[in-house]
Amino acid sequence: MISLALDGALGAFSAALADDRGLLAQRREDGKRALELGLAAVASLMREARVGHEQITRIAVGIGPGGFTGLRIAISYAKALSLAWRIPLVPISSFDMLEGDAPSDRALAVVAGRPGIIYARFRDGRNETRAGGTTAEVLGRLALPEGRIPVFGAPEDALAVLAERGIDVECIPAPTYPAAVAALIARVREAPAQSHAIRPDYGELPAAKIPRLS
């Protein structure tokens, strides 16, 4: 089994290939140039790993939350590749990519959104709580327990609020190649029956501006 993964939600655009034994190759491009350079990255990745599309058995894509534009570009690429090559598409949450392919029992994963906004997921065993909004609001809503908490992703403002509240944290930075994590996770995830049904997780409702008469 070979999985190709793409992500554009976590800052940069990244792409990776993995097989049953582990990672085969990975690429990273400036998130602002995901539209121009993303496919070239995928092409060079496949060349480097000497993998043809007929060998790929699964495509994974980061579905957010995270940067809206990069997210849309990566999902558009992934849906089109899935359609053209007739390969199942597996959605992977940004929170899962932050936590890695071997997550611990308790984890707080934090994604930076637009300035001042974060999206967070707190997992404690089988219980899971998500929230999005300003850093203070989100960390207040999650009702974190006492004791040391591993914080994945960990934007600086989130760490500052956690420190203010006296919460003991262990910081694990976001992976340099989020798609590499997605490629590894995808090996053991089922794909939904319809790749069309895969939707981005924007983490918040759109900020709608009401058109005005001028």
Binding site: A40, H53, I73, A80, A84, P206
Partner: protein
């Protein structure tokens, strides 16, 4: 030559399969009016989200309707601008990935060129040169078309586009979104001579347009005592008569400057019944062929994008996989470094 067209420049998620630039085998368009109606206009972020949700299914739907497989397509044509950036990137990213995966050529198409080539769909290619009157919610232009790759803007709006004026006036009249078609329907029951709204006159020697003053005039009228007593259908008909007069006057002025083989009406406002009637009447009176696409090709659609790519393919307009989206893409072909 079979092209898959993709159009996501605004709020229509559209795909089409077109053979040899004219024969539409399938054309799918999923408008998002229901999502934008409560805001009274298009919300770019919502439009972009809907494109991500709908586009791949729209490609598959077009293939199913045409009873074709993706591998049978000879190339991918996509709108790369102008338009809403959040919407354009979804279409461009999807088209590039399809071209890469299928190892087929990618054709980036100017949305405005697409509207002009809508007149070629399901009919014979018109003679050159022809005059195109391109009127939509975002654009109002008078264009001389010498060949598929040689076009010149003779006049353009200095402020609001014709469709924009329609939508804003429709809101003043309390009509639901999208207001243009609603205003057209209302106007059909009114008297176009009931109120004398102003007609913009261009500077000498230009074919430029302006609709902002007209819209403001309607607004002031509706706020006046006379306006409060006026019948809405008469206001709509009088407003529409002013728009149509201005547009037909520009066509007449263009033909006075030089001869054309035909006049093409395109863009969303081309579906307007009064404008179509006026252009047909003017054309018949002047012995000019008027080409007006059927309603489904007046509004944004992907068949016109595939048609434009087909007719412009000889100018070596094949794009690399680094093709980007340009929300302000110039009408000029050379604006993107092309021949």
């Amino acid at each position: 030559m079979l092209l898959l067209g993709i159009e996501t420049s605004c709020d229509d998620t559209a795909t089409a399969l077109v053979r040899d630039g004219r024969h539409v085998l399938a054309s799918v368009s999923t408008d998002q009016d229901a999502f934008h109606a409560k805001y009274g206009g298009i919300v770019p972020e919502i439009a972009s989200r809907q494109h991500v949700a709908l586009l791949s299914a729209a490609v598959e739907d077009a293939l199913a309707r045409a009873k074709l497989a993706l591998e049978e397509v000879d190339g991918i044509a996509v709108t790369c601008g102008p338009g809403l950036i959040g919407s354009l990137v979804v279409g461009v990213a999807s088209a590039k990935a399809l071209a890469f995966a299928l190892e087929k050529p990618l054709y980036g198409v100017n949305h405005l060129h697409g509207h002009i080539f809508a007149a070629f769909l399901d009919r014979a290619e018109p003679q050159y040169p022809f005059l195109a009157l391109l009127v939509s919610g975002g654009h109002s232009q008078v264009v001389r078309v010498e060949s598929p790759t040689r076009m010149e803007i003779l006049g353009r709006t200095k402020d609001d586009a014709a469709g924009e004026a329609y939508d804003k006036t429709a809101r003043l009249l309390g009509l639901p979104y999208p207001g243009g078609p609603e205003l057209d329907l209302l106007a059909q029951r009114g008297d176009p001579r009931a109120h004398a709204f102003p007609r913009h006159r261009p500077d000498r020697g230009t074919l430029d347009l302006s609709f902002s003053g007209l819209k403001t005039s309607v607004r002031y009228f509706l706020e006046s005592e006379d306006g409060k007593r006026a019948k809405k259908e008469d206001v709509a008909a009088s407003f529409q008569a002013a728009v149509v007069d201005v547009l037909i006057a520009r066509v007449a002025a263009a033909f006075a400057q030089r001869d054309y083989a035909a006049v093409v009406l395109s863009g969303g406002v081309a579906a307007n019944s009064a404008l179509q009637a006026a252009l047909r009447e003017w054309s018949a009176r002047n012995g000019v062929e008027a080409l007006i696409p059927p309603p489904q090709y007046c509004t944004d659609n992907a068949a016109m994008i595939a048609a434009a790519a087909y007719y412009q393919r000889d100018a070596a307009i094949v794009d690399p996989l680094t093709l980007s989206a340009d929300p302000n893409l110039s009408f000029s072909l050379s604006s993107r470094g092309r021949a």
